[in-house]
């Protein structure tokens, strides 16, 4: 079942993948260029609560904006829109979804009970400072999903370690969860290395991460 949420002029698709008990809902955040899966993934079977997935702006069944203009901070606000609707959640984010999940955990420490950051497209981002300016002409009309502008812009977004570390600290200091940030990604770009180095951040396999997230 899809619920439509409004974020500015964008309509976001929030997918209810599975019902569950009163345990905190699980929110899946997809990688760059991907979308919420049609059915709840097998690994989520052990999650007793409901399972949701959010299509980011320009992805899946959410609005594809005209002319790009993406940033990870806009996607953070996508997640914030979902939190307003769902209340507190636990997040499993892959790739770009892992980065945005971390931003959400830092921005809303009481609304995100924990985040798992796993490998996937868009995990690396565009480095720690701007590269030489570049220009990509829009080859396609940006009406298809995933939006070509999203693929281009969100693979280059800058993630300075000290900026990202702030979010990790907000989550670690403000979350009621014992383990608010769990890193299961195996490749650590500079931003994620800075996060993993913070005292209190857990590193383990994906299976163990999902297990610990539920505690």
């Amino acid at each position: 079942m899809i619920t439509r949420l409004h974020h500015g002029r964008v309509e976001l698709a929030l997918h209810r993948l599975r019902d569950g008990d009163t345990t905190t809902p699980l929110l899946l955040l997809h990688p760059l260029g991907s979308r919420t899966p049609e059915v709840a993934p097998n690994w989520s079977d052990r999650w007793p609560g409901p399972v949701f997935g959010l299509d980011f702006t320009g992805h899946g069944a959410s609005t594809v904006p005209r002319g790009g203009g993406y940033s990870a901070e806009v996607l953070l606000a996508d997640v914030d829109t979902a939190l307003t609707h769902l209340g507190a959640v636990s997040i499993v984010g892959r790739g770009l979804g892992g980065y945005v999940g971390l931003l959400a955990a830092g921005a809303r420490p009481s609304g995100v009970r924990g985040v798992v950051i796993d490998d996937g497209p868009g995990l690396t981002g565009g480095g720690t400072m701007p590269s030489s300016p570049s220009f990509v002409a829009p080859v396609f009309e940006s009406s298809s999903s995933p939006d070509p502008f999203a693929l281009q812009e969100l693979s280059r977004d800058i993630r300075p370690p000290d900026y990202v570390r702030n979010f990790a600290r907000f989550a670690l200091e403000g979350s009621p969860a014992a383990e608010p940030i769990i890193v299961s990604a195996r490749i650590l770009p500079a931003w994620l290395e800075a996060v993993a180095d913070e005292h209190g951040v857990v590193r383990c396999s994906f299976e163990a991460a999902v297990e610990r997230l539920g505690r």
């Binding site: 904006p65 002319g67 203009g69 606000a77």
Partner: protein
């Protein structure tokens, strides 16, 4: 304000707007001779020109929360000196379309389409404020396109970041983050309040503190639209001053030493809210070899509006007027 009438038709509204606008004319102001639109990835960007179509062109980038028609006095003065002045409204500004998303990268891409539309020959590039910061990027992106670069108080510097203790800085980040999410949550169906020409001018006066009432009222008539319930600024109501994210003002300055064409950077002597407050000593370490830097004492951030004759003279002698 009170609604003029509930059932006014489009044509009558146009007549009403025209008669109200006629009451606030500015000597020397001239609306663009041509206005066309460019399709950039599905978004309509409005491009304007003053001067003969076959005159040598220069391209001007306006600042944030401005629009191309803020050049209605300045551009005709450049035309008198032999130029064809090309400019455009950034996405969400002036007559360009409101977008769902905004970013500097998207602005640069929109600008690149305008650059490409100007001429096959090289031409001077001028940018004010945010437009100046954009032009720095464009100059490094397309060094083959421009003969000169002129930057009008558009050099962001880190000096505007307060020098505070770590814990205080983190509190500021948390507060900016809260403001950002609060802003994003408030965008649905947002619209600018309607008002009289005088009311809109007064509102803009808070950002343009040195501008005359007459100028601000004139801007309403070219940068606003007359709705049934009054005038509204055309600018997208979802835009806000400053975004939130990892971008740092000094990153713009890092582009400065990479500029290869002759560069003239002009700073204002009277910093205003809409500028970065950058001083000569912030810029000097980054200036490319041979670049010129000047600070105009007693003049504010909107220098080309405040002192158009002086600026046209300074810029004209730097870029070499055709006449």
């Amino acid at each position: 304000m009170e609604s003029t009438t509930d059932s006014i038709d489009e044509k009558s509204l146009g007549v009403l707007a025209g008669s109200e606008a006629a009451a606030v004319q500015i000597p020397g102001a001239r609306r663009p001779d041509r206005r066309t639109s460019l399709d950039v990835g599905g978004l309509s960007i409005s491009r304007v020109e003053w001067g003969p179509p076959d005159a040598p062109p220069l391209l001007f980038a306006h600042g944030g929360f401005d629009f191309a028609e803020t050049l209605n006095v300045f551009a005709p003065k450049l035309v008198e000196r032999g130029w064809r002045v090309v400019s455009w409204d950034h996405r969400g500004h002036g007559h360009s379309e409101w977008a769902q998303l905004y970013s500097l990268e998207a602005d640069i891409r929109d600008a690149a389409f305008v650059v490409e539309s100007v001429s096959a020959e090289r031409f001077p590039l001028i940018g004010h404020s945010k437009g100046g910061a954009m032009c720095l990027q464009l100059a490094v992106l397309f060094p083959h396109k421009f003969t000169h670069l002129v930057n009008l108080d558009g050099l962001p510097s880190r000096k505007t970041m307060p020098d505070v203790a770590e814990h205080q800085r983190i509190r500021m980040v948390a507060s900016e983050l809260e403001n950002w999410l609060g802003h994003r949550a408030s965008l649905v169906d947002r619209q600018r309040p309607a008002g009289t020409i005088a009311e809109l001018a007064q509102r803009r006066g808070r950002m343009n503190t040195r501008a005359t009432t007459e100028w601000l009222q004139y801007l309403v008539t070219v940068g606003g639209r007359r709705d049934v319930d009054g005038w509204r600024w055309r600018i997208d109501p979802t835009l806000r001053m400053g975004g939130f994210g990892p971008w740092r003002p000094e990153w713009s300055m890092y582009r400065l030493p990479e500029v290869t064409m002759p560069l003239l950077a002009i700073l204002c002597g009277e910093p205003e809210l809409m500028g970065w407050g950058t001083r000569a000593e912030d810029v000097e370490p980054y200036l490319p070899i041979g670049a010129e830097l000047m600070e105009l004492a007693g003049i504010g951030h909107f220098m080309h509006i405040e002192q158009p004759d002086l600026l046209v003279q300074i810029i004209g002698s730097f870029i070499g007027d055709p006449q």
